[in-house]
Symmetry: C2
Subunit: 205 residues, 2 copies
DNA sequence: AGGGCATATGCAATTATGTTCATATGCTCC
DNA sequence: GGAGCATATGAACATAATTGCATATGCCCT
């Protein structure tokens, strides 16, 4: 299989997510992995095994240069840098249309057949989501206040700010929805509880 | 490999998405495929090949009963029904915690390194998304008006309405964000245009 | 002395998802 | 008479993502 393919720009976007991270600064696989746990990890997750595998492929494709750094006391590390070809590839890839990916959220599937699920369990799952969305929102707000409060001129940070704003919008919407959903489900659960109490009273009468 | 596994409830949720569809009514693979193009397809997509493959596995796992219907003029069809075991499995599965899946949207990756992309192309992609989100919102609003306007009592339709409300929230947020993003990018593109004009004027002077 | 964590990397296997190709009939439209 | 669509199904291949296993050192805490 030839490594070089100029024209074709397929999906496989973990590769591009890594390239994009490395345009900020050269990094090791280990550092990249930590990035996929935090910043870019907000919308794209990858385990360290995936990162290392993809790095090798990107180097084989000629998009990355690598430099091994000998260390004492710790294992040696390899620092990867996006080269000119990698940057060209990224710009080319950015021109390809982006499809909106489907949500593929198990919670939505459960919602789709609410009469077939364990209602109390699903309620609890939505409550957990609410906590998570609130935590995420608080985090995004902290980042906004700390790093994106003033006027922003450079393009790089403009993109990051837009991403952050998208995150804020998504979390706020999700929080509002969770609260509505919990209220709605509680009505149904209350009904079930009352019905259960009545049955038990009749039985004991 | 044994088909029966009571305790284990792994991810693999296309299977559950199909089960959930079939709890509404028994269907053929062909009908299911159409469902994955519309209603459940709003958040979970699957091609007919995936659907047929999964149906066979679900039948092998003992979650579905199947009945072949001989037809003339058209190919014969197989109608699948969720049996008691399938329903038990679904209820059991509904109890497992749901992780929020990562967005994995290429557009966000491009946003993440806005200084490395083709800015005009990305702007155009956001504009396309805006059109798509507006169309989707309009569709959801039509569905809401037609099928979920009055009071809803049964659990099944409550779940669907909650899903619809989530969709409305998501699309409205996305539309607002796209409009902000386009305005922001236009400032940068305007700047670049003006700079280009100045360069050309100096060159011709 | 042993447990756990941070650093640093990677192979192998499995699961999940997506794409290409294949088949077969009858209808309608041009 | 051919193009294209609706009906109806599936094998085989290809890509992507997750999970289990594996290694190695130094530090801190108990």
């Amino acid at each position: 299989m030839p490594a070089a393919n100029g024209a074709k720009c397929p999906a496989m976007a973990l590769a591009e997510a890594i390239l994009v991270c490395l345009t900020e600064r050269p990094m090791t696989g280990y550092e990249l992995t930590k990035t996929f746990d935090t910043s870019i990890g907000f919308f794209w997750r990858a385990a360290h095994q995936q990162v290392y595998r993809e790095l090798q492929q990107l180097r084989a494709s000629g998009f990355l240069d690598s430099e091994e750094v000998i260390q004492t006391g710790k294992p040696n590390k390899t620092i990867y840098t996006v080269n000119a070809r990698g940057r060209r590839h990224l710009k080319e890839w950015s021109r390809a249309a982006t499809e909106r990916p489907p949500a593929r959220d198990n919670l939505y599937v459960k919602l789709y057949a609410l009469d077939c699920v364990d209602l109390a369990a699903v309620r609890a799952q939505i409550a957990e989501r609410l906590v998570m969305h609130k935590a995420r929102l608080a985090l995004y707000e902290r980042i906004e206040a700390k790093r994106f409060s003033g006027r922003i001129n450079d393009l790089r940070r403009t993109g990051l700010k837009l991403g952050l704003q998208l995150g804020l919008t998504v979390e706020r919407g999700a929080i509002a929805w969770c609260e509505t959903a919990l209220a709605t489900l509680d009505q149904h659960l209350g009904k079930a509880l009352r019905a259960g109490r009545e049955r038990r009273q009749k039985a004991s009468a």
